[in-house]
Structures are given as C-alpha cells and as structure tokens.
Amino acid sequence: MPETYPRQGALDHLRLDARAVDDPGDAGVVMCARRFVGKVNLRGRPTKRFREAAGGALGFAPPVKPNTAAGAGGVSALWLGPDEWLIVTPPGREGEVIEGLRARLGGQHAAVTDVSEGRAVIGLAGPRAREVLMKGCPLDLHPRAFKAGDCAQSTLARALVIVHQTSDAPAYDVYVERSFADYLWRWLEDAATEYGLAVIRG
C-alpha cells in the first residue's frame, strides 16, 4: 500500500483516537478499533494434502475442530465451516500469506481470497464484555461453552459477525462487515454504557 495516501479505517470517522485513554481504570468494558488487520478467506476440503500445504504456508495447520481458532507467529486461522477459514494476519502481512498459500496450494481445488478490507475488527474486553455480547448475540458465551480460542459466526444485534474469544479475561475480537461497522460500534457502545466504557487505541 502506498504511504502517500492515508488509509481510512471503517471507524475512523468516529475519531476514537481522540477519546482513547491509556488506562481504562475500573471501566467494565474496554473497546478499540483494530485497524487494517489482514484477512484472507481460505477454502478447501481439509484433506491431508490440503492441510499439509496450508500448514506449510501458515506455519500451522488450519483447525478442523468446528468453531475453534489456531495460530502461530501472529497469524491465526478461524474455522468458519468444514471447508472455510478466515486467516487473520497482522496489518500488512496479508500479501505474503496469500502468496504463500497460493504457491503451496497450486494444483488443488482451493481458493485464497483477500478480504482484508471487507471486514472491520472491534476489540471488546473488560470484566463485563461477556454481558455486552449477551445483549445481542444468541450464542452460549458461558465459560463452560465458549473459551479463549473459540470462534463462531453468529448475529450480534442486527449484524452478522464472527466472534473470536482471544483470552479468558474475557476478551473478544468481533469481525463485522465493513459497512456495518459504524452501526455495530454504536450498538456496542450503547450496550456497554451501563457497565462503564473505556475506549483504548487498537
């Protein structure tokens, strides 16, 4: 990406940086916009050959257990379906991941698609983060049912999302279609109000 033009995140118009605090204090909910996270949609039947090829490119094999994530070296793979994963990379690394996957998966029935710009990621943490999700998400998010490393596609309020629990604290990354990001952020903010909300930098 050229440096000459400023890239705009899906939530930049909300000027969250101006509201960001360094120490969330005793806020029940802490939110941030994770800008420019790389995202790659990976399709393919999880045969041994496919998993070896993808694993060779990623450094780990995409998980086959439904609704779980795996990862290494800052890259993770979220199981979305029996033949579909979302590969998540640090900002700017999606290109090399795409090239690596395409190179190793050549000749197989697979698809590697850059969807980095199509989804926004909202970080949601804090002691009351689970309650905020419970207000709009029909998944069972109880620690017995949904733990760090689990992910699932669902609805949150009126948006389709992928929820990825990143820590037992709890902390979540919520992936939402870019065009819905403004709605979802404002919905989350509204839902978090009663618990006290702090915005931090992504």
């Binding site: 990406m1 050229p2 000459t4 033009y5 400023p6 890239r7 705009q8 995140g9 899906a10 118009h13 420019f36 949609n41 399709r43 029935h109 697979a110 698809a111 698609t113 850059d114 969807v115 980095s116 710009e117 199509g118 989804r119 309650e131 419970m134 207000k135 709009g136 998400c137 029909p138 998944l139 069972d140 109880h142 017995r144 049912a145 309020a157 009126r158 948006a159 279609e177 870019r178 065009s179 819905f180 990001a181 403004d182 709605y183 979802l184 404002r186 919905w187 509204d190 839902a191 009663e194």
Partner: protein, 1002 residues
C-alpha cells in the same frame, strides 16, 4: 389522606417503618413497603376498583396475583403511563399514581353503567348480530365500537425508559419460585448444572408467603429463606425475582420479562434498564408455575367483596390486611377451610362456611365448629345482594344432582364472600410448549399430559396440591432435569415433611342453579373481565358455537387481558353441561404467549432510534456527508441520492448532475454493487448454468453482461462478470441482490451441484468503487494513471493498474451510456481515490452525482433495473433482450420455463418507452395504462409505468412501461389514467438517448 383502617396491628411481610404515599383515582393513600397496590387499597378500605368491560358493573379486587380480572389499572401519567396492569401485581412505591380503566367520569359513578340496564339486549355475539348490516353503515359502527372498546390508554408520547435484552443458555430453567420451584432449583443446582430460577413476584416462596403452613416442623417461610440462601451460594444458579416466564417457544426457547426497576418508580437509579427481556435457551425446563383458584358461578357473583378464598388468605397473612369485616366462605373443596381459620385468626368474623359437599367432616371442619363457625354442608351461595359492595348472600340447599335448589334460601349478611371452586393448575407454559393437556376428574382440572419438549411439571401446576407433594415433585423434577442435562450426580434429596390433614374429594358444580323463583334475569358471571355469563355460554351452544374455539370467539370468554385465567375452565364445564358432553370431551382452547401482557418496549429493547436498523455506509460516506449530499435508503445501505448546491431543488440538482455526465464527466459511488469472487475448475460451468448467455468465449481481461433467471424463467438479477484469469471470475450483482445472489448460488452448489469445483467468496465491501462517466472520463483517468494503455482498453474489458498511486482494478463498463470507468480500490483507500479524482477532475468540472441521476441516465439509455422495471413476472424476452438468451446452450436456470405456454405466448406485457404528448408531463411511476377510458373504474388495463423521469439531456420527460403486446404497438398512443386526469403518450422503443451506443464505445 386516609388511615389504613383494615391493616392488622401486626404481622405480614410488610415493612411498617417504610410508609409509602400513593394516589388512586386522584385520592391520596398510604401503604407500606411490601404492599401491592391491591393490598394497600384494601388496607385503606378501597374494594371498588373498576368497572366491567361491557356492562360497566362495579368490580372489586378479586385475586392477589396474575389471574386478576377486575383490578386492572392505568399506572402513571404522561410518557410513562402504562395501561392494563394488575393492581394485584404492582409493587407499591412512593408517589405511585394509578387510576381505574373503563369508567367515566369516575369509578363510583360511571355513565357507561346504563349499558347494564339494557344488558338483556346485549347477549353473546351482540356485535356480530347488530353491526353486520347494512354494510355501508360499518364506518359509523366502527367509530362507536372503537370508542367503547378497549381498556386503558396507550401513552401518546415516546417511551423515555430503556429496555434491554439478554440471550442466555442454561441447563435447567425453573419457572416459578414457590415450594416446588425452589425445591427443583435446589436439586438441580447442587448437581453443578447451570440453573435459572425465575419468579414473577418480588420475593421467592410463592403460595408459602401467604400460608401459615409448616415444613420440617418449622414455619414454611424459614424453609423458603434457607433454600434461597443455599441457592444464592451456588455459583451457577441465577435467581431472577420479578421475572415472568411469559412464553415457551420451539426448541426450549423461553422468554422472561424481568421488571428491573418498575418497583422503584421515580426512585429508579439511572443506570440499569427498566425491564430486561431474557431470551433463554434451556436444555431442560421445570415448570413450577403453581395454580389459580377457580371461582364458583352463582348469581351476581361479581359484586365487589366477592374474592377468591386463597386471595383473602394471602391478604390477611402476607399483607396483614383484613379484606372485610364479616365473611362467608363458600367452597367445594377442603382448601378454603384453612382460609376460614386464618380469617378468624385475623379478626375477620366468619359468618359461615358454605360447603357444596353434603357432609363436611374432618379436623378442619371440627376446628371451625369448635370456634363456633357454622359449617353448612350440601349448600351453596346462590346469589348475592348489594350495591357497590356485597352486603349479603343467599344460601340454598343443592339437590343430589346439583341442578336444582331445594327449599327456601337463607340470607346471611356479610361484606366479603370468599369463593373456592377448586384449583386450576397453571398449565399455560406447558400448553404453549405444545404439551397435551389431560382432564383430571378428581381435581376437576386440566393437568399436563404428554410432554412435547424437554420439560417436566412439578407441584400445583402438575395437579399436586398438597405441600408435601409439591416439595417431593420439585426435588425429583429438578434432579431429573439436571441428570437429563448431563449432570449425573443429580439425585433428589429427601423431601422435608409437611404435614397436612388428608383432603376429601371436591364436588365439581360448574354452575350453581338459581332458586326456582328466579330462573331468569340474574347474571351468573363466568368471565368477569369480559362480562360473559353462564347464560351467554348456553346461548352460544344453542346457536351452534359449541366447539371451544367458537365459544371463545363468539362470547369472547377468556379473551381479556387476563386471558381467562379464572374463567376458562368454568366456561368449558358449563359448555360440557349444556351440550351433554363431559369436559374432557369439550377440550381446552390453545394457550398462547404471553402468560401475562408484556410491553412493546420490552420486546423492542434497544432496537430503537439509530439502532432500529443498521445503516450501511460506503467507504466514502463521510465525504458525501461533508458536501451535503441527501441520502436515500437502498436496502440497508445509505446511498447519496443527489448533491444539492446551496438552496438548489432536487430537480435542479439532478438535472445539473445528469448534464455534467452527458457533457463532461461525473463521478458516482458504486461501492454498494454486490461482488462475488468465483474460483475453481468449474467456475465457467457455473456461469453457464446460472446466466442465460454463453460464457465459454470470455477471455481474461474481458467483461460480459449477464442475466440470471429463477427456475420460473423470470428475471432474478443482472450484472457484469469479468474473467480475472484461468478459472477465476469477478461477478457483480445489483446492490439489493448481493446477499440474495450469493445465497442462491450457494444453494445450487451445496444441494444440486455438489460436484462442481467452485468456491464463492463475497468481496462486496472489500472494494470501494468510484465510477467516472462522461466524454471526459478518459482524459481524467489518463492524468492519474500511467500504467494502463487507455487507447487499447476497449469497452467491456478490465485492467489492473495504478490510479493516483493506488493499486486499482479498472472496469470499462457503463450504466450511463457514456464512456465510463469503474475504478475499484481497497476500501480503506476509497476516500483517497475519490479525492484524487475530484482534484484532478476539477478542470473538467467533475460533478459528483447520486442515485437519482444514475437512474435518469440509465433510463435515457433504456437500461432496466431489476426490481424497478421488473417484478418477478418478467422474462428477458418481455424486455426485448432475446439477444442475451443463448439458443445453443443445452440448459441454464430458467430455460425450461420458456416452454410454458404462458411464458411463450407472444402477447405478454413487454417493455416499451413512453413519450407523453406534453413533454413537461412526468407521470408518477406505477401509473396505470388503460386500454379504454371510461368515466369511472373499472377500466380495461394495459400495463403500468415502471420508470419515469425528467430528462435534462432531452429536454423532456421519458418513461418506461410494461404494456400488453407492447413490442408490436410502437407508434400507438395510449392513455395513462391518473386520479384526476388522463395523460396521453406515444409508445416507443425503450431507448431515448444515443440508440446506436456510439458514446459508449468512444
């Protein structure tokens, strides 16, 4: 302010240190914390609380809970006012204001009460019989009926309160926190299961709060407190007081309405919501909803002062209120005996206990007799007297068949009549869950039969009316539910002892006969809220409405806000009697959610204001806002509609935008177009199957327009698909069709064509799209792009390149008929691209244009918009687009339907152009074309206008229409019928601008 004349000097679960002032019908009273509005009114000597729905008869507090038919009040004023609340369930708070509903000008003097004098003229089905004809009078009838109908007033202002929702899952949901529910929650909770215990009252304990019963040798309330304490100590048990389980839906999905701060009134803190809707998915459900006492049906049984026996008991015990001074208890079963004893203990004079059963015996009867209370066996209260309150009952002797009163009647003075006709298990939730009810002859009540979902009933709602049975069933059900939810340790703890005397069977008498001298006239009420009498039920049966569902609708019994909790079973019993069927054969009506009314605010939750529906934003949205664009909704998208300059009108702005495109260059945000990445060895095969045209010849770097049809051969979506490389395509869809098309293709791939090797990925929002259109588009692009040979970049092709330093995918396609480039860049760079184009385009007067200009431009070219010019009944041939339907392909979706005679006939409605005789006339879209003008409808119709605009480029109006046989009628003049006049227009080809397409390919 009046004194609490009926408050007992001590006792009750009220806090006498916290006095609360409240207003009822404009008068000030005081009660105590722990009171309900009903108990506080009774403490103040207020029994008359409302007027009945139809006859406006005076009505008093009848129950102490959810079943209340009479004490229906309007709570609060202004924006927070809430109609149809039960005074028996409203917790008292300081400053509470309530008023009776359904009376004017006041509850003491109600003008509507004249309807009682004419009540002989208002039998069941009165409205159906009276207001049916003549039909043209209906508007007048409706006005009168609407004025007379309804209880309470909806607030006129916006609800200022906040309502929230929670989705929650659990192993065991226990509905009801009485003895059975507490026991069930305890047994389930100790297994480690995730348990939710919800109860509609402010505190747990259910009926035990109003009984003097004992458990394990101690007062029952101690057992309640200790059990609640244990439950609080269990980490995975969630206790929800003030929470009504109101709905039981499929797959053990239940709704709970929690009243979080309602009981605090104006003192509610600002943070938490007023109410919270819990949407619960439970592995197992234990229903412990208790039972409602059943009234007895006798003449004038609706007078204020007639009350359910158990309610009177709860008022004296739980609320320390004497609901009367001198009581007559009338019963057909044992439970009311303890009521008589408790009333006597509370200082209410019990004038007599009247038992329908011939020879009352046993320790309770002895206890009453020991206290000098008359126990009158084999008798019934046959009628009451009094004005705004009962002042006496008449007691008569029942014959053996209970269908006649033998001998004379005896008058007993009293101001309180406590009635018990047995108990109805609260099977509402069980029935909602689709469980089958069965009739229990011994209890003369419906009890849960076969379960349909993963639930079990325990306690009184299961027909177990003895405390020891409630406890044992609760423990067993809780343990079994936990076990079935996967918690193996769920063994039921031993039930504590709760001694009670052996109960004698009840005597079911659905309708107490009138004394022989009064066969007509006196009303024996079945449904107090809807004023349905035993005679109405009999009349309905005589008139052929003998099926329960007919009976309900004809008489409206059970259709009030109380949903017939005290009336339904009596109505069924009487219907059975009248029709000579037993009640089991009559059956019960369907129970539907909600158990008690829930407010719309609760159901809406936070789906209000800006959160009502998502507003989808394109990457350039903020830019459009910053220049004052007016937006329109396209599905959930907000799209720039037009960009007014200063005070410019919409018409002027759109004209200016259109002319800029035709004469120089315009720019439009096309980011919302659906985009699907298609990859795989069979990608081409998929395209051939879903589009009407052939795709084999499409080479990398080229684009092709395609139509998708449904199986019915009708237009479904359209768009341009480009070949990115071998086995790799970029498909575009309409804005509104993006999700629909992806789901449609996935459905075919997953269900019908699983062998096709194709993967589809939505990339709609990965790309921001700025389309530059107009004769200067190439010059503009050339200034920002030096790595694409624009001279060798023909129409319907695409190139990868760099625009203003941004990596871009440029498609040379057009929806305006002008030279056009759709420039796709990663979404985060959409604004950067847009601004670069605006800056570089300034010298060409680049003009941002919105969706309205886009529609005008395409209409000038005769391009259709799927869903605008088509409506699901239009084939490609109807649009004159045969050229895009392959004759060679063996098959594609929709092809087979072209052979249907109706699809193949030549005189279907065809797309045509219309030019009005008056070029300034822009007819509204949707206008009807009539084949023959008559003075008034109906007229033979020929079709309708699908698109209609002012064309600035042509200096006149243009329109498109679907017209019968239109393709063969070019040159004809047709008439468009508007509400106030007719407009004549010439039929033309649907292309108005640059018909040869020279500009497009320039």
């Amino acid at each position: 302010m009046s004194r609490q004349v009926n408050r007992r000097p001590e006792g009750g679960r009220i806090d006498r240190d916290r006095s609360l002032g409240f207003t009822f019908n404009g008068r000030r009273y005081t009660g105590f914390a722990g009171d309900t509005l009903a108990s506080a009114l009774l403490a103040n000597g207020v029994m008359l609380v409302g007027r009945s729905f139809k006859f406006h008869r005076p009505r008093g507090i009848f129950s102490c809970g959810a079943e209340e038919p009479n004490a229906i009040v309007q709570l609060g004023a202004g924006a927070r006012t809430e109609p149809n609340l039960r005074a028996t369930q409203i917790e008292l708070f300081e400053g509470l204001e309530a008023a009776s509903v359904n009376c004017w000008p006041s509850v003491e003097f109600d003008a509507g009460a004249v309807s009682d004098w004419f009540s002989r003229l208002m039998p069941a089905g009165f409205y159906y019989k009276t207001f049916m004809w003549p039909a043209r009078f209906w508007p007048q009838y409706e006005y009168v009926i609407r004025h007379a109908a309804g209880l309470g007033r909806a607030p006129a202002e916006k609800d200022p309160d906040r309502y929230e929702k929670f989705h929650v899952h659990c192993d065991v949901l226990v509905a009801g926190g009485g003895p059975a529910g507490l026991a069930a929650a305890f047994a389930a909770g100790r297994s480690g299961a995730r348990v939710i215990l919800a109860d509609e009252h402010s505190e747990f304990g259910g009926a035990l709060l109003g009984l003097g019963a004992g458990i394990g040798g101690k007062p029952a309330i101690e057992w309640v407190e200790s059990t609640v304490g244990k439950l609080r100590g269990m980490a995975e048990v969630r206790l929800l007081p003030r929470s009504t389980v109101f709905g039981y839906y499929d797959h053990n999905d239940l709704g709970i309405a929690e009243r979080v701060t309602d009981h605090l009134g104006p003192a509610a803190p600002p943070g938490p919501p007023r109410q919270r809707l819990w949407k619960v998915r439970a592995k197992q459900v234990v229903l412990a909803a208790g039972a409602h006492e059943r009234p007895l049906v006798f003449a004038d049984n609706d007078r204020p002062g007639v009350m359910l026996a158990s309610a009177a008991q709860a008022y004296v015990n739980r609320y320390a209120v004497r609901p009367g001074e001198r009581a007559v208890v009338v019963t057909n079963n044992d439970s009311a005996y303890q009521v008589a004893l408790d009333l006597d203990d509370a200082g209410v004079k019990v004038a007599a206990l009247v038992d329908l059963r011939p020879a009352p015996e046993g320790p309770l009867a002895d206890a009453l007799r020991d206290r000098g209370i008359d126990v009158l066996g084999g008798r019934a209260v046959v009628a009451t007297s009094g004005g705004r309150r009962v002042d006496a009952v008449e007691v008569g002797r029942l014959n053996d068949d209970a269908d006649r009163i033998v001998g004379g009647t005896r008058r007993i003075n009293c101001d309180l009549v406590c009635v018990s006709g047995g108990w109805n298990p609260a099977v509402h939730l069980f029935s909602q869950s689709r469980g089958k009810l069965r009739f229990d002859a011994a209890g003369a009540c419906f009890t849960p039969g076969d379960s349909y979902q993963a639930e079990r009933s325990a306690g009184a709602c299961n027909g177990a009316f003895r405390l020891a049975d409630c406890l044992a069933q609760g423990l067993a059900a809780g343990a079994a539910a936990a076990r079935d939810a996967g918690f193996r340790k769920g063994r039921a703890p031993a039930a504590p002892k709760a001694p009670e005397p052996e109960a004698a069977p009840l005597r079911a008498v659905w309708r107490i006969p009138l004394p022989g001298d009064r066969a007509r006239g006196a009303k024996q009420f079945v449904d107090l809220q809807h004023d349905v009498t035993a005679a109405d039920v009999a009349l309905a049966a005589r008139e052929g409405y003998a099926a329960v569902e007919h009976l309900k609708r004809y008489t409206t019994t059970g259709m009030g806000t109380d949903q017939g909790k005290t009336s339904n079973v009596n109505a069924l019993g009487i219907l059975g009697q009248v029709t000579g069927t037993d009640i089991a054969g009559v059956g019960a009506t369907t129970f539907r959610p909600p158990y008690t009314p829930v407010g719309y605010g609760l159901l809406a939750g936070r789906d209000v204001d800006h959160l009502f529906d998502p507003a989808r934003r394109t990457p350039m949205h903020a830019w459009h806002e910053s220049v004052g664009a007016v937006f329109e909704d396209v599905g959930q998208w907000k799209r720039a509609w037009y960009y007014p300059r200063g005070a410019e009108s919409m018409r002027a702005a759109v004209d200016r935008e259109c002319l800029a495109v035709r004469n120089s260059v315009g720019i439009v945000d096309a980011s919302t177009l659906g985009k699907i990445d298609v990859q795989g060895a069979d990608a081409l095969e998929l395209l051939n199957r879903v589009y009407t045209n052939a795709w084999d010849t499409l080479k990398p770097g080229r684009c092709r327009y395609g139509l998708m049809l449904g199986e019915d051969g009708m237009l479904f979506d359209d768009g341009v698909t480009s070949c990115l490389g071998e086995n790799h395509y970029h498909m575009t869809t309409t804005t509104g069709g993006a999700e629909r098309v992806l789901a449609w293709l996935e459905q075919w791939l997953q269900t019908e064509w699983p062998r096709l090797k194709v993967y589809l990925t939505s990339v709609t929002t990965h790309w921001a799209v700025a389309a530059i259109q107009g004769p200067n588009a190439r010059r503009l692009l050339a200034e920002l792009c030096d790595d694409v040979d624009l001279g060798a970049f023909p129409f319907m092709s695409w190139r990868d390149g760099t625009v203003a330093g941004i990596p871009a995918r440029i498609f040379r396609v057009s929806f305006s008929g002008e030279l056009s480039y759709e420039i796709n860049v990663p979404s985060s760079l959409g604004v950067a691209l847009w601004q670069a184009l605006m800056t570089a385009g300034a010298r060409y007067g680049i003009t941002p244009y919105g969706t309205e200009a886009m529609l005008v431009l395409r209409a000038e070219k005769g391009y259709v918009v799927v869903g605008h010019d088509t409506d699901g009944t239009v084939t490609p041939q109807d649009l004159g687009m045969d050229w895009i339907v392959s004759k060679k392909k063996k098959d594609f979706l929709g092809k087979r339907s072209f052979a249907r005679s109706d699809t193949a006939r030549p005189d279907r409605k065809h797309l045509v152009g219309l030019l009005t005789e008056d070029p300034r006339e822009v007819v509204p879209e949707g206008s009807q074309i009539v084949e023959e003008v008559r003075p008034a409808p109906p007229m033979p119709m020929g079709g309708h206008v699908t698109s209609s605009y002012w064309s600035a480029a042509l200096g006149r109006s243009i329109a498109m229409a679907l017209l019968v046989n239109g393709r063969n009628r070019h040159g004809e003049t047709v008439t468009i019928s508007l509400p106030d006049r007719n407009v004549r227009a010439a039929v033309t080809k649907p292309v108005f601008y640059d018909p040869e397409g020279e500009k497009l390919r320039a």
